[in-house]
């Protein structure tokens, strides 16, 4: 009798790598697809930022007419938020979370692939307005009735609505997948309170997405009905309520801020301990602070609407200021993690410290804006633009680059060149501050946001020129990054499975990890299983519960 022996992981058929990547349901490949796709949209929206800053460098209209300018800032905001920051963090979550949990894959691999592939489709639909008479031009917030059929007759706004609906659906599916993975796929020993902090932040983010994004999607569909099928949700001339759109949008939009900042906080909370060679100070407090931020984020949406005259100011002002408490706790815990550590300033560490120092500014300006009387002056000025860029860019994007430098050796087995990385960081850091700090004085002296032009007599020219110079500096900083990624990918230094002496499970498997991630798992007795493995013989450094 003939017997057949199957090799472990025998390939039943071979296909080209293109087909392989297009049809993959492996969470790691999907994660990489997310990240690469997001960076492509990042570069596109970055070019739009350069267009905007070029137009604003000096008074007068030099390059664009008003309509084109309005399309540029609308597309810039929409693409950056919905097709770069959210999905790039989803990409890292996709790649890293199953590895950190000791799981072979996400809970629903096919849904995972679907939720990725909706993204490029949605993004291209949003951009395709440019081919059909002009892209949407109502700002990323799409306020009604400006975004209604009367004032935005072009098909660009319809494409924007359809594209965002797809992107929102992708987010919701991804969130379901993350939640199921965290609750059902953890390895034995991986209790909730031993989960890496990045998994915690991603879990809370997924819950926020699941509760907030369907509200936005409903609003998008309602606006689409208004525009195309004679609905009157938001049109005041037919009895609709323009303010309803703002409530719907910001009920989603404010949790959205935490959707993009929490995973970046998680990244930073993984990196600071590794390069301080200490555990994260106050792990439990950090988990509770993350949950508190998530809860509070649903009670503050109307602080975007203080000047509308129709919201109850004291409640929303108080809840908004209250978010500073759990955020402050995190800040103190990060500081305490550095305290008496053994700090190495590697590139991921530099970007993580960049996050902490820059996000602090965004947090402080946020508390300033929470006072309604101050907000009456600063709302819809460049101060708010500065504030949101210190949160989104100084916060989330620094976190994204920290994550890229930190996990690149895990994804490829090769470490990005440290010297080029530091060049990237410093040009990026200085350019960022040059671009976005001047927006605060501009706003304080009264420059409204979303203007294509300003008066030469207003005294805004110098700050605007500085900001434009900073924007180009950020663009230049991308060059060493790109060169680094390409050169390292082709011929980088191979650094083994755990080059950073890190703490969490993803570093316990090979780099890059095999399909289904682990051949064997180390015992999981704390939130730092790989640290415990490395130091199992010098137990004097371990707390009682960590000792093997």
């Amino acid at each position: 009798m003939a017997t057949t022996t199957l090799e472990p992981r025998a390939e039943t058929y071979r296909s080209s790598w293109v087909i392989d990547w297009l049809t993959t349901v492996d969470h790691k490949k999907i994660g990489v697809l997310y990240i690469v796709n997001s960076f492509l949209f990042f570069f596109a929206a970055g070019i739009l930022a350069l267009v905007i800053r070029s137009e604003l460098a000096v008074p007068g209209l030099q390059f664009l007419d008003e309509r084109t300018y309005n399309q540029a800032f609308t597309m810039h905001g929409t693409i950056m938020i919905f097709l770069f920051i959210v999905p790039v963090l989803s990409g890292f979550a996709n790649y890293v979370v199953p590895l950190q949990l000791g799981a072979p894959d996400m809970a629903f691999p096919r849904i995972n692939a679907l939720s990725f592939w909706l993204l490029p489709l949605g993004g291209l639909l949003i951009f395709s307005g440019y081919l059909f008479g002009g892209a949407a031009a109502e700002g990323w917030t799409g306020y009604a009735p400006l975004s209604g059929g009367t004032y935005a007759a072009g098909v660009g706004t319809d494409l924007w609505l359809i594209g965002l609906t797809l992107v929102g659906t992708a987010s919701i599916l991804g969130a379901v997948n993350i939640i199921a993975t965290v609750f059902k796929m953890r390895a034995p020993g991986m209790t909730l309170m031993r989960m890496p902090i990045f998994c915690w932040t991603v879990l809370v983010t997924a819950v926020l997405i699941l509760l907030a994004t369907p509200v936005l999607t409903a609003g998008l569909i309602a606006l689409f009905i208004d525009r195309n099928y004679g609905g009157s949700f938001f049109d005041p001339t037919t009895g609709g309520q323009p303010i309803l759109w703002q409530h719907i949008f910001w009920f989603f939009g404010h949790p959205e801020v935490y959707i993009v900042i929490l995973p970046a906080m998680g990244v930073v909370s993984e990196i600071l301990p590794v390069f301080s060679r200490k555990p994260l100070f106050g792990y439990r407090a950090f988990v509770f602070a993350t949950i508190a931020i998530g809860l509070l984020s649903f009670s503050v949406w109307a602080h975007h609407m203080f000047t509308t005259g129709v919201v109850f100011l004291p409640f929303f002002a108080f809840m908004t200021a209250l978010i500073a408490v759990p955020t402050g706790v995190k800040m103190f815990n990060w500081m305490a993690t550095l305290w008496r550590g053994s700090i190495s300033l590697t590139t991921p560490m530099l970007f993580a410290l960049g996050f902490v120092t820059m996000f602090l500014i965004g947090g402080i300006t946020g508390v300033m804006l929470s006072a309604p009387a101050v907000d009456f002056h600063l709302q819809d000025t460049y101060f708010v633009v500065g504030h949101l860029h210190y949160v989104f860019f100084g916060g989330s994007v620094f976190g994204v680059f920290a994550a890229t430098y930190f996990w690149f050796p895990k994804i490829t087995g090769r470490r990005l060149n440290e010297r080029l990385g530091k060049v990237h960081f410093w040009i990026h850091f200085i350019g960022f501050n040059l671009a976005f700090f001047p927006m605060h004085p501009l706003g304080i002296t009264g420059m409204p946001r979303r203007v294509s032009d300003y008066s030469p007599d207003a005294g805004w020219t110098l700050w605007n020129m500085a900001s434009t110079a900073g924007a180009f500096m950020i663009a230049i900083s991308v060059l060493p990054f790109l060169i680094n990624v390409i050169a390292t990918f082709i011929n980088g230094e191979r650094v083994g499975d755990d080059p950073w002496e890190a703490n969490t499970l993803e570093w316990a498997t090979s780099s890059p990890p095999p399909p289904y991630n682990f051949d064997k798992l180390p015992p999981i007795r704390s939130e730092r299983p790989v640290f415990d493995l490395r130091h199992k013989h010098d137990v004097e450094h371990l707390s009682a519960e960590e000792r093997p």
């Binding site: 000047t307 200021a321 815990n333 300033m368 929470s370 009387a373 101050v374 002056h377």
Partner: protein, 358 residues
């Protein structure tokens, strides 16, 4: 180590610190709002200063700590530092610190908000502010029911409207939009308020100004409202009561547009504006003779027609606000050629056309 090395390093550090302080100072200077020119604005300015100083203290404290920690605790060897996992007492302390700051801030901000939201029972002047794409109209209510008697101030992008106000008196603004959302914003008053399109019985937004100093203060729309958002500017001219009374007496009264005056027998061209768009973008007129352009405005947004040869302005028609308002423009004789016409209030492609004179 050479003896000179230490002082030179010290010098470098001092220089770096000095440069840092200088940058902070310069940046800090830009961080103060414009001089407050109303009673309420003074309260906002004071609150802003307190909040800014609190923020600056937190900033310097945290950043200082981080920089110190990075310099002090750099990795020097393979020795593993103490594995400190946390401390419940300090967690409680640093939960309390931001809580106290937030509570203090909330109380201060509520007090300032009271000053901003204060309303007098009897404002001495009430002005209806109408926002529309992309201009403002100010109607001074005189108390009687006939809007034809009210002073009506209009403007155009080239010549923005001016709101005259008496100083040291409460002035009530009633804000309404005819189309999309706008916001009335004067930086020197440190306040803005959205100008909403109203449906049904909703009360319009109101704000009250008590300007303290004679002067001209620029303002503009602060809520993005479409193509020409950036050109939706106006100014407030605050004057003494005597000057204000003189201005009010001399100001034009609002009402119906000037009566049509058609030259008998002349050519009449029809042009209609609706939804910020002309119904036609091609018109033809006879050369070397006067003709009439009968311009109909179907919507309650101001429009006009201006005619250009290249960049040169040849004719400017008066603005007219609908619905169903008609005005006849008598255009002087033009030599043959291609001209363009457009609405001065809305110089967008939809409100631009070609006039062929042959």
């Amino acid at each position: 180590m050479r003896p000179s090395a230490a002082p030179s390093r010290l010098q470098t550090r001092l220089l770096a610190v000095a440069a840092l302080l200088l940058t902070t100072l310069v940046a800090g200077c830009g961080m103060l709002p414009p001089d407050p020119k109303t009673e309420a604005a003074k309260a906002v300015w004071d609150l802003y200063l307190i909040v800014f100083i609190m923020g600056a203290i937190v900033f310097v404290g945290v950043e200082g700590f981080i920089v110190y920690a990075i310099l002090r605790y750099r990795r020097r060897d393979d020795h593993l530092p103490d594995q400190l996992h946390g401390n419940n007492l300090v967690e409680m302390i640093w939960t309390a610190i931001p809580t106290v700051i937030v509570l203090v801030l909330f109380v201060l901000s509520s007090i300032a908000l009271g000053a901003v939201e204060a309303r007098s029972d009897n404002p001495s002047v009430t002005i209806e502010v109408d926002g529309f794409q992309w201009q403002w109209e100010f109607r001074y209510l005189d108390g009687d029911a006939d809007p034809g008697n009210d002073v009506l101030v209009t403007g155009s992008p080239a010549d923005p409207p001016v709101m005259a106000l008496p100083i040291n008196e409460p002035v009530r603004l009633v804000l309404r939009s005819r189309d999309v959302i706008h916001a009335f914003y004067v930086p020197n008053f440190l306040i803005k308020r959205d100008v909403m399109p109203i449906s049904g019985e909703q009360p319009p937004n109101e704000m009250e100004l008590n300007v303290t100093e004679v002067g001209t203060y620029g303002g503009q729309c602060a809520e993005f409202c479409g193509d020409l958002h950036a050109r939706m500017t106006f100014s407030v001219e605050a004057m003494t009561r005597a000057d204000y009374d003189a201005w009010l007496a001399a100001a034009p009264r609002g009402g119906s547009p000037p009566p049509p005056s058609v030259a008998p027998g002349a050519t009449v061209l029809d042009l209609t504006a609706d939804m910020i768009e002309f119904d036609t973008h091609q018109l033809t007129a006879p050369a070397d003779e006067a003709f009439t352009m009968r311009f109909m405005n179907e919507e309650d947004v101001i429009h006009n027609v201006a005619i250009f040869r290249g960049e040169e302005r040849i004719f400017t028609g008066d603005g007219v606000t609908g619905p169903d308002a008609t005005i006849d423009y008598v255009i002087p004789p033009l030599p043959p050629g291609e001209y363009t016409f457009q609405c001065d209030y809305h110089p967008v492609p939809d409100m631009t056309g070609t006039l062929t004179v042959e």
